[in-house]
Symmetry: C2
């Protein structure tokens, strides 16, 4: 890919995307948020059950309640993390503090109905589509999964829904470039371990 094959518009978008953990305070057009939600709504799902519910948060009081709850849960998570994960988080500057939950003009909390078929795969495809629409809008986000935080209560979300992730959305104030393994280390042909030939040309 890096060598012989031409990217299209989507692949350029994917290649340019970065996780963003700090946001400018400046506002974001509501239409951009609507398009991001549309991207998620239109995703395919198991038996087309669309087992998701998205809650857009722009109320500072709700954001503050989110941050308080998430930072409490993060404290527990960090104290119990493996040595390897602790090292990784330290290297990437990840602490229990989550200022982006208040800094981002919008949060989208993504819930799924636990008992629907293929609910977890479905909601994560939908989140994948939204991540790309965020990039298309020239905005930034992070797939934030607050292990153990109890957010249903804050948003009055029924217990049949489980939180998948929170997407804080805003204008990026920084971003982190992360490398990926080469295609040759990720893809095989017909048998595990047998190299994939990329082909060449447009």
């Amino acid at each position: 890919m890096e060598r012989n094959i031409t990217d299209g518009a989507l692949l350029r978008l994917i290649r340019g995307r970065r996780s963003v953990r700090r946001f400018e305070g400046s506002p974001v057009p509501r239409q951009a948020i609507t398009r991001i939600l549309e991207a998620g709504r239109l995703a395919p799902s198991g038996s087309n059950r669309q087992p998701w519910c998205y809650i857009v948060i722009d109320d500072p009081a709700v954001k503050q309640a989110f941050r308080t709850e998430c930072e409490w849960a993060e404290g527990v998570f960090h104290r119990n993390a493996s040595v390897e994960l602790t090292a990784w988080m330290k290297a990437h500057g990840i602490t229990p503090q989550k200022p982006f939950l208040e800094e981002a003009p919008y949060l989208i909390a993504m819930f799924y109905k636990m008992r629907e078929p293929y609910a977890v795969p479905s909601v994560w495809i939908s989140i994948g589509f939204m991540l790309l629409q965020v990039e298309e809008e020239g905005l930034g986000t992070l797939t934030y999964t607050p292990a153990g935080a109890r957010l249903n209560t804050i948003l009055s979300v029924p217990a049949q829904f489980q939180l998948a992730a929170i997407l804080p959305i805003g204008i990026p104030a920084d971003h982190q470039r992360q490398n990926r393994r080469a295609l040759s280390e990720t893809v095989f042909t017909n048998q595990f371990g047998r190299p994939f030939e990329e082909g060449s040309g447009p």
Copy 2:
């Protein structure tokens, strides 16, 4: 969205995408497959662990072995399906027969390392990116999840990897349009049940 807000290129792509269950026999450029794999490779993942392994299948003997194993597993699945699911499958013409596993010029089998953090969310974001790249290439696919099929053995994939899905990829011979719930039934603001206002303008 349908009313007041202009789609960009990505949203047009998402809106146009359909699940495809029948494929033309005509060949697909290998570069298109490479770009689809690139889209998956470049996806974000928990702690950037990239807990996936993709196997491209273009060998007719491997495809045939896949089909035999999957149709056996599908037979079991259909016999045990709920009344509701059986009705849905019947209405959508879904039977234990999976001819697309041999008709599609390429299959991509997507595996993930079960023990990596956030392995399931990560592989499904990656699959979401690939679904869109398939559409960008003017090709069709289906997120096929053969419940209970034992495909690791056929591909010599180590037991630490679990199959997430198979994407058959080719030129569409048919497709199915499926409706989605309206945004107003899917999205709320600040509290469950409180309507989201879309905004208007470009």
